[in-house]
Amino acid sequence: MFATTRSARFLLHLANLLAIVFILLPVVATAIGALQSEKSLQADTRRVLPAEYTLDNFALILSGGAQKGRIFEQATYLPENIKHFYAAFSNSVIVSLSVTFLTLLFGSLSAYTIARQRFRWTLFLMQANIAARFVPVITLMIPLYVVMRSIGQLNSLGGVIIAETGFLLPYAILILAPYFDTIPGELEEAARIDGCTRFGAFFHIVLPLATPALAACGVIVFIVSWHELLIPLILNARPDFMTLPVVIASLVGDVHVFFNLMMAICLLALAPTVVLVILLQKYIVEGLAAGAVKG
């Protein structure tokens, strides 16, 4: 509607350029930081691009601290938690996949009944879910820490999975319920007349039709779980139970700041969700909009 005159088009290109630079700047900085040595970062503090590039930072992290390469040859100190990269990565994968699976399973059972069966208590459950989205994680984590500690359940992946599932379920239900609402009820009625049970009708008729919503909800839950810091940080302090965000957080305020290593591990941690966002952009956009305004 605005883009008619030449000067208007020029201004739009300029505004886009600013937006693109703003979006890409941190990611580009991360990549440039991760691809050079500490020495080259310190050699000239006014230079944007390094004189030479190296993959040694990634080699060190991916080899669990074993392959020091050229740039860490003389390093006497390396952050201990770098060595736990693989354990942290696989913990993150286990937690995020389990949370996504459980949340989709429980969430779709709930969201379906909330959308279909209009009882006073299902309405109340929906409102409770909306309210639950606003409970701050820190308010939950202080009592959960005290309970988990007293029953000896600190440092377990199971505890983190249960906590994250409970925390994300309300959000998942908010995303799923409006979608189930749009699937016509006649389909299940027809199936029930043909002798299908209530659960059978849900499982065989409704769930396959809801695949797009399940994809949208699943990818959002996976991303939020992959990013979650506070829950695993408080519940799991032992290195073998840390998730990736906890390992990254442990690099903050280390005795020696290795910016290059930090940027490399950040890049490795953000890569999976960036790939998901690029591949499933359409679903994420729909899910985010549905979870915020419908119900």
Binding site: H13, I32, L125, P136, T139, I223, F259
Partner: protein, 294 residues
Amino acid sequence: MSAGTFAFVMNVPTLICLALVLAYPVVYAGYLSVHRVGLGQLRSGNFAFNGWDNYSRLLEDPLFWTAVKNTLLFTVVTVTSEIVLAVAIALLINQTSVWTSRVTRFLILLPYAIPPIANGLIWTFLYSFQFGFLNRILFSLGVISDPVNWAGNPDTALYAVAVPYIWRTLPFAIILVHAALQGIPRELYEQAAIDGANAWHRFTRITLPMLRQIIAIILVLRTAFAFTVFEEILAITQGGPGDATWVAAWYSYKITFAPPNNFGMGAASSYVLAAMIGVMAWVYMRFVFRRVTL
């Protein structure tokens, strides 16, 4: 099986989860907040009831009030910037005939993919006084001649943390505004063009009024979530320099999990935070949610 029984059985897993991870901790946090709970009590398991002690100590703690003040300032800064930027960028990517707008649109979700704690570390690198990427760029462009201490200056530190937070959470707001823009009937603009309205008039008389509801949603949701900012604070400033970036969630975290580990007071402070957010939740449920069609 009757419809009622069926509905109940289907909700059993959710109800168990919500009871275990949401309802019970919320009640138990209330219990902790009126008891004396430190590391010693945690070991022995005996929590002595101390009434409103934790709350009154909280209200007498100047650091708590600093944290509240910082949280409010942080929230006002981030939420207003996000709404202005979200409307501007959503209008920008709506210009599908401009090829650079299509590029921006493709990139818009990228910050949503970045883990908040990684985002914090990345901006620590950008802001670094000695080795920072931002200073390097500004040196190269000739904008500055001496390095700037972005996050280390008490006057600017809170804003320095606000920028990465805005960067990371902006995609959500843009997506909502962009979706709402698709719902505005084209005829309104065509009619306005016939009546000779210029671009600015079309924006203020048509676009902005039609976006009112979605802006209200973003305002409430983003306010509620900005109150709980944590990761960027942890990574970039750890509350510093001095107490310049102590915010509510950081206060609760430090009081509880750093020596002298006052769990009772931590729970009390997190309850105050939850109450602040509860106001936003009430507004959201009462006035905003369900009244919008995208």
